[in-house]
């Protein structure tokens, strides 16, 4: 369902020269599949997820999700597509601090479809074990709980693809496994394809499919 072909991305450095970050000839994830991408810090994992989600534009190449080639989309189309079909879990949770757990989930629905489904939002929060924390603001939640809200939020609009950017890196050691399990289980339940990036081997080795970004990213070898 996710297909990358010859995706290239480079950043302009302060001295004006171009620094290639991504040069990926081929990358493919099937529907409902769970893939982990491993790479050391700074090798371009976040950049890749941004390109897949349409948050950043690739300099060249194609990103296809199901039958849509999002690299041809306008920015507004990308925004809408991302809202409705892609879930994103950030390394630093990125919950909106002024809003309760429930409202964070509702807002994601609001931005995607213009309206919010309260029943589904509650059900999702219950699923991630936060039925008694719905009206709590992020500041009143533990980091593990915050990341669980973020997972519920990412699944709010029933995406077919979930992108998770080092989702356990900022969670305390005691809860990392819990968060990881939650992501994998919920994706399985909702038949969502998962692309999880990490620099940690202990997370990666739990997956059946492990890809090393540095191996198939030609730019990574240069950097």
């Amino acid at each position: 369902m996710l297909h990358l072909t010859d995706v290239r991305k480079s950043f302009t450095q302060p001295d004006g020269s171009e620094l290639p970050i991504l040069d990926i000839p081929e990358f493919h994830v099937a529907a409902g599949e769970q893939a982990v991408l491993v790479g050391r810090s700074g090798c371009g994992k976040t950049t890749l997820l941004h390109v897949i989600a349409g948050i950043s534009r690739a300099d060249a190449g194609k990103v296809r999700i199901d039958d849509w080639e999002i690299t041809l989309f306008s920015e507004a189309e990308c925004d809408r597509f991302r809202a409705q079909r892609i879930g994103y879990v950030f390394q630093t949770f990125n919950l909106l601090s002024g809003f309760s757990a429930l409202e964070n989930v509702l807002l994601a629905m609001r931005f995607a479809r213009g309206r919010a489904d309260k029943a589904r939002a509650r059900q999702l929060l219950k699923r991630v074990g936060l039925e008694h924390r719905m009206t709590h603001r992020p500041a009143m939640l533990s980091v593990g709980e915050q990341q669980r809200v973020a997972v519920a939020r990412a699944l709010a609009n029933g995406p077919k693809l979930l992108l998770a950017d080092e989702p356990t890196a900022n969670v305390d050691a005691g809860h990392q496994q819990q968060v990881l399990d939650l992501i994998r289980e919920t994706c399985r339940e909702e038949n969502v394809a998962l692309v999880l990036v990490t620099h940690g081997a202990e997370v990666a080795e739990q997956f059946e499919r492990i890809d090393h970004l540095e191996q198939f990213n030609r730019a990574g070898a240069v950097a």
Partner: protein
């Protein structure tokens, strides 16, 4: 969850800075409201005084001074005109053009209230506001043969504490505003209902009694004639037995309030021309003089005040802009998160504009409440000074303009921060925080 709610949340998150900026907007709007209401009050109070007669005849000189003096009892006392001239309106050559003519003598006061000597017709033939007739709350009008009778305006009676049957001795107003000497006591025979005109503050006395006060025998013009050689006192002694001996002494009036005949407008116009061409007096149309004065002086002054108030609002608007714009650096990340969740550029821009509109309208609402509260607090003073009743709910139609006006202002000042939100680089802002 509506975008308005999202905007409101981010206002609430910066409660102190939001409250301060909204408050400064509130002060500006309160100022605008106060200026608008006071404009209405001043306008009304200026228009109210002069109705019921269409000409004021008085000594030659400044038109405005004559009107301010006669209608509003303001400003320095003015010259008098001879009593004979008044008689021209009653029995003389001006009579055909005249419906009613009421003489007034100014320059006296009692405990801060102007004392006006006049004739009973003042309350019988003249009306006030839109043709309303004077009514007495207590007692009745004085009669011409009751020389030392007086009628008190509602406010004057209340302030001084004059009751029916009470007496007072008017004095001449010296240039420093103090009443100089005391005359014969006058008895209050009637207290007027409130009229909402400057007359509420006045004590009216019978002109006949006024002319008979011993002190007046030596008043300005009479005394001058005495020194110039004319000896009126001796002249009057010849008729001492005569009950009307005062008819022959040098009597003067300050002004004549003339109601011309509505059925003969041509005559009325000629009357004004004839008087103004003569040597003795001038005739002015109070409504026109007041309208001119209002437009040229008061109106412009208030326009200036209004402009200043609007300027305060604009400055408050800029305050809102600065406040939101300053918050943008903290919020760039939050905006990037919203964008990553799928909110479009225009959506985040709209949220910022809504914030600006909420702050402006919220401040504006506060300002309207403040402004009207201020008016309510001042209303006793305003009634006292002008006779115009204002309540806290004395809304002006122009105030409705505030709503679209504030929305436009909010959109303008919100544009800069909103554009910053629009331009936010999502990928960069997301990673910057990591």
């Amino acid at each position: 969850m509506s975008l308005w709610k999202v905007a409101w949340r981010s206002i609430a998150q910066r409660a102190l800075s939001s409250a301060l900026t909204a408050f400064s907007m509130g002060l500006g709007i309160a100022l605008v409201v106060a200026v608008l209401v006071i404009h209405g009050v001043v306008h009304q109070s200026f228009e109210r005084g002069s109705q019921g007669y269409d000409l004021i005849v008085g000594a030659k000189g400044g038109q405005l001074q004559l009107v301010l003096n006669t209608v509003f009892y303001l400003g320095q006392p003015i010259e008098n005109i001879p009593y004979d001239f008044y008689e021209e309106f009653i029995v003389g050559r001006f009579e055909p053009a005249v419906e009613a003519a009421v003489p007034v003598c100014m320059g006296h006061a009692y405990k801060g209230a102007p004392v006006v000597a006049t004739v009973p017709e003042m309350f019988e033939k003249l009306t006030y506001l839109d043709g309303r007739e004077y009514a007495f709350a207590e007692g009745s009008n004085f009669e011409q043969h009751n020389f030392y009778a007086a009628v008190a305006g509602a406010t004057a009676a209340r302030k001084i504490g004059l009751k029916l049957g009470g007496t007072f001795q008017p004095g001449v107003v010296a240039p420093d505003g103090h009443a100089d000497h005391e005359d014969v006591p006058f008895e209050v025979v009637g207290i007027l209902e409130p009229t909402g005109t400057p007359n509420d503050n006045v004590l009216f006395i019978n002109m006949e009694g006024f002319f008979r006060c011993p002190a007046h025998a030596m008043e300005a013009s009479s005394a001058k004639q005495l020194l110039e050689g004319g000896n009126h006192r001796d002249e009057t002694h010849e008729h001492d037995a005569d009950d009307h001996h005062h008819d022959h002494i040098h009597k003067e009036v300050t002004a004549i309030l003339v109601c011309t005949r509505a059925d003969r407008p041509q005559l009325a116009m000629s009357l004004r021309e004839v008087i103004n061409e003569g040597q003795v007096a001038q005739a002015v149309q109070p409504t026109r003089v007041i309208a001119d004065f209002f437009q040229n002086v008061v109106g412009n002054l208030q326009l200036l005040l209004l402009m200043l108030a609007v300027l305060v609002v604009v400055v408050a608007g800029i305050g809102i802009m600065v406040s939101i714009y300053n918050s943008m650096s903290d919020r760039r990340h939050e905006i990037a998160v919203m964008r990553a969740l799928g909110a479009g550029r225009t959506t985040v821009m709209a949220i910022i504009l809504m914030e600006s509109i909420l702050l402006s309208l919220g401040g504006g609402l506060l300002g309207v409440v403040l402004g009207h509260g201020l008016i309510a607090a001042l209303s006793p003073t305003i009634v006292e000074q002008t006779g115009v009743m204002v309540s806290a709910l004395h809304f002006q139609w122009v105030e409705l303009v505030l709503i679209p006006g504030l929305i436009v202002l909010a959109t303008l000042v919100g544009y800069l921060p909103a554009a910053a939100a629009y331009r936010t680089d999502v990928a960069k802002s997301l990673t910057a925080a990591q």
